[in-house]
Symmetry: C2
Subunit: 346 residues, 2 copies
Amino acid sequence: MSDDRRLAVLRAIVEDYVSTHEPVGSKALVERHQLGVSPATIRNDMAVLEDEGYITQPHTSAGRIPTDRGYRLFVDRLANVKPMTPAEKRAIETFLHGADDLDDVVDRTVRLLAQLTRQAAVVQYPSLSRASVRHVELVGVGGRSALLVLITDSGRVEQRVLDIRSAVDVETLGVSLAALRTRVNATVAGKRLREAREALTDLVQQTPAADIAIAAEVAASLGDCLTASLEERVVIAGTSNLVKSGADLSLSLGSVLEALEEHVVLLRLVQELAEEQPSERGGLSVRIGAENLHLGLDGTSVVTTGYGGETVLARLGVLGPTRMDYPTTMAAVRAVSRYVSRILAS
Amino acid sequence: MSDDRRLAVLRAIVEDYVSTHEPVGSKALVERHQLGVSPATIRNDMAVLEDEGYITQPHTSAGRIPTDRGYRLFVDRLANVKPMTPAEKRAIETFLHGADDLDDVVDRTVRLLAQLTRQAAVVQYPSLSRASVRHVELVGVGGRSALLVLITDSGRVEQRVLDIRSAVDVETLGVSLAALRTRVNATVAGKRLREAREALTDLVQQTPAADIAIAAEVAASLGDCLTASLEERVVIAGTSNLVKSGADLSLSLGSVLEALEEHVVLLRLVQELAEEQPSERGGLSVRIGAENLHLGLDGTSVVTTGYGGETVLARLGVLGPTRMDYPTTMAAVRAVSRYVSRILAS
DNA sequence: ACTTGGCACTCACGTGGGATGAGTGCCAGC
DNA sequence: GCTGGCACTCATCCCACGTGAGTGCCAAGT
């Protein structure tokens, strides 16, 4: 028995099922693919594939559909990522061109991914756990209010408006803030966010007694900013594609939407994929069906990859029914990731 | 014939249909409500109501369901907004308590509304068309980069990092920026955002020749910030509730989700509701079914109200199937609006 | 002028039986 | 190890039928 042919059969089953959404039988298989053997032979192969758990039949007298395990094998060994057409490449380029803000880039990216794959797209904001402080700005803005702005080297900006309760009078406040600004920057600039947050306590302690109260307030607020910056964020789009993509998923569509709205769940999912062995799929990670631990996310597959240049900043990807078109989806995710990385690098 | 009774019948039909999701017949109606007449009488009333377009029957031998027009009459004349229970009030309070950021308030509010009404919730960010500039901060952050921060009196902060391409050398850049900062603030502080944007051209023209190139760059960037601040933003949550709320809507669920994802569409919708006569419903605006012009949003109703204290800053509301529980939904929207307004006022 | 009980009528829905056909598993022969 | 043949299984479709909820209308009652 030829092991190769059985794999070819599995591939054919996956491809046909993905395109028709109907169980595929032995006869249809030999008609649509050049397998060079008779339906009976295919049936034998299918029986073996079913024994090994790669395919299954919904009911006795129906064709076969791939199992999660079948998709897994397909993705790992059989899928050759389709290259993007020039038209698609142009589309990506024009869609992402002209984005100014970081927010804008993320927003456009997630929409683009959703549109390109006709599935739900997820983009994690550039992760700042490895980012460092570029600059801290501290300035009075009339009365006892002060503005604190934190800029990281990944381009994210976080700000707080704070009331200096302990200020004695407005005159000296300005002077104190200016001095504090210099000292704060000297302390935290260039440091990783986490380290910077820890360095704040030292800063307060080494502040002249006159300004120590103000310094404490500023440090507290800056600590808030650093913590907020460390917090991961995600954006999603294209949820409407999920309902279109077929009624089978719509059984659990509610729980899928629920999971997508819970950003905490999404982040954990993306995190798990990040820790996965990238293997040889060009950095792409794929979670298939029940491999997703989260309840309600069986029945869906997730394809993600890192983006952001040499140092991976964060991840982006796509979520859809397990019977998605993996080659195309993977190609789109990879292509978008590259373009976004290029934009962020500039 | 008693006009009152016919209205009572309509109310009963709406209430029963909303709670059972099934067409309601004359017999069931007299059993479940104290109408004091026989089914035959009710049938006559129903025939009239149907003639007038308030109810309809899905097929010949079925009960009646309200039409959009029926719901409209119900909302306008028959619905008495249910007061919130103390438990619900407590829930609202604890849910919104402890929000620090404006983003945080909006985020919590939209989730709360979705959870409370079990429908999709929409919250528009505090509108800045009437807001004015509180302060503009401009400062160099190493090399030729400068940070521009715009603070409005409604608490929103917008920032840009800009590269000063026309700077001759780094030394004089700092001085120029400081001077520019003072001049910019003198020009725009206190002005409405729109007016401030227009004042920028004057600012550039009146700048000393030496700094005019830099001033132009800064003005362009500040103009961007002002435009971005003027742009309305919305946040949604609870889309998963829509799929649960019944299969009838799931026919067009795709287009509903699509519309919700297109923030532009949502904003226009909210805008339309804002311009509506608030009538006597305590500031609540209700759009029912096909009254929503947008395709795909027939079949859904929208309940919104303004929030933000005496000067209405923006709107929040709820979107669900036309056969929603209007009294409860309206009560929830109103209650949340009040709490949020209180928080924002503090 | 309304209200009411009675009555015929409609029609969605559920049930059950039979035909259809796609698809399988197995086996004997090549 | 491949192939054609063959019996078998079931989901699906179709149709016919009974059932019952609900209506519209009418004649009689108040």
